[in-house]
């Protein structure tokens, strides 16, 4: 669907909400994923500068997550242009996406809206190697490490000091100490960021409520891929959730479906399918920032080549360029 058709949906949402809408989609199409990362801040800045100061700004967000530091920068940037910041969640807004929601005065969630826990898995060069693929590093879940230590503490009974030392040594044998250090740093970081983001709200929650929200979104959900519905986000976690009326919900869902179709989010990207001769160049859009003022896209550009030597029928995919591109 063309931008003009999407613009009519964006305008209709803006009319319903008396706001200005910026859409931020990080595509989760297989083979060409994008994620929340610091390079989006300059893109968002371009849209905010064009929209200028507004009484209300809504961020229409679809993401599976990404860098956990970016939400803090991004929410602060949006708040330079508005006193009232909301996030519209049509479908998935996991991990770093949920962190962005914590900094919002209002989270608009339809029946399909989903948030996720903010217990990231961390990976650095010292993480354990993947046994199935030595080039890869296995991400370590922060909550898994803390859960292990909590279990050891629970089982240690009257021998706390001795058994906790043993449990920690055992952990350090399996995971490099610098990877454990990275886990601990991120454990502290995620709580600090979530707390600071909640405090950015116009009417921030009380201190007790902040602790409860952060606990709920980290250790109490027990699974990183737990999908939080609007009912759970509202009643149990006590986030400022707004249930849209039927008309607004339809607009929100239509806009999401539009992006999902445009970026073919539901079908894997297989550049080999495009190959009719020995070589073809391709460009694929896998992320977007769009408002009534313009559109930016994250584009992967590359070359697909068929090689019949040393093995017949081998297809090589070379990514030549990747980055944000202004389309409108």
């Amino acid at each position: 669907m063309a931008r003009s058709e999407r613009l009519s949906l964006i305008n209709a949402i803006e009319n319903e909400r008396s706001s200005k809408v910026i859409c931020y989609i990080t595509g989760d199409r297989e083979n060409v994923n994008t994620r929340i990362a610091p390079d989006v801040t300059t893109i968002l800045y371009r849209h905010l500068e064009m929209l200028k100061n507004q009484p209300k700004i809504d961020l229409f967000l679809y993401t599976r997550g990404g860098d956990v530091l970016t939400p803090w920068r991004l929410v602060n940037l949006v708040r330079e242009y508005t006193d009232y910041f909301s996030v519209i969640v049509p479908f998935r807004s996991y991990s770093a996406g949920t962190l962005i929601c914590l900094g919002a005065d209002e989270i608009i969630m339809g029946k399909m809206g989903e948030l996720g826990p903010i217990d990231p898995s961390v990976v650095n060069a010292f993480n354990p190697q993947d046994p199935a693929n030595p080039q890869a590093r296995v991400p370590v879940s922060i909550e898994d490490v803390y859960s292990y230590l909590a279990l050891a503490r629970e089982r240690a009974g009257n021998h706390q000091e001795e058994l906790m030392d043993k449990a920690f040594l055992l952990l350090a044998e399996k995971i490099h100490p610098l990877a454990i250090g990275n886990v601990h740093r991120n454990y502290m970081l995620i709580r600090s960021l979530a707390t600071k983001l909640l405090c950015l709200q116009l009417n921030p929650p009380t201190d007790d409520k902040i602790v409860s929200i952060v606990d709920n979104l980290t250790e109490k959900l027990y699974a990183h891929n737990h999908m939080i519905s609007r009912r759970e986000a509202d009643k149990e976690i006590q986030l400022p959730i707004l249930y849209p009326d039927r008309y607004l919900e339809e607009l929100i869902w239509k806009l999401y479906v539009n992006y999902a179709q445009e970026m073919s989010l539901n079908e894997p990207f297989n550049p080999a399918d495009m190959l009719s001769g020995p070589r073809i160049e391709f460009e694929v859009v896998s992320g977007t920032v769009e408002s009534s003022m313009g559109q930016d896209a994250f584009v992967f550009s590359g070359v697909v080549e068929r090689k019949d030597f040393p093995e017949k029928g081998q297809v090589n995919v070379n990514i030549v360029k990747q980055g944000w591109l202004t389309l409108a």
Partner: protein, 70 residues
């Protein structure tokens, strides 16, 4: 179809893919398949390769695990 001659057969789906996909983590927003080659960087020096479990409704069985008659 003659129902008397109908013999139920076990349908075998031969999925090439397994349940894990590897991705190449760069500093920016891009997060492409690790199977690709990258013109601008050497994969083992910059960035990290990470596994990601594929969510799928199908009950995937690797073809190597499939034994006829099971």
């Amino acid at each position: 179809m003659d129902n008397d001659n109908y013999t139920p057969e076990k349908v075998q789906f031969n999925y090439q893919a397994q349940d894990t996909k590897y991705y190449y983590l760069t500093d920016g927003s891009g997060y492409p398949s690790a199977d690709y080659q990258f013109f601008y960087s050497v994969k083992d020096k910059a960035g990290l390769v990470v596994p990601e479990t594929r969510a799928n409704s199908a009950n995937l069985i690797k073809s190597s695990d499939y034994l006829p008659g099971r």
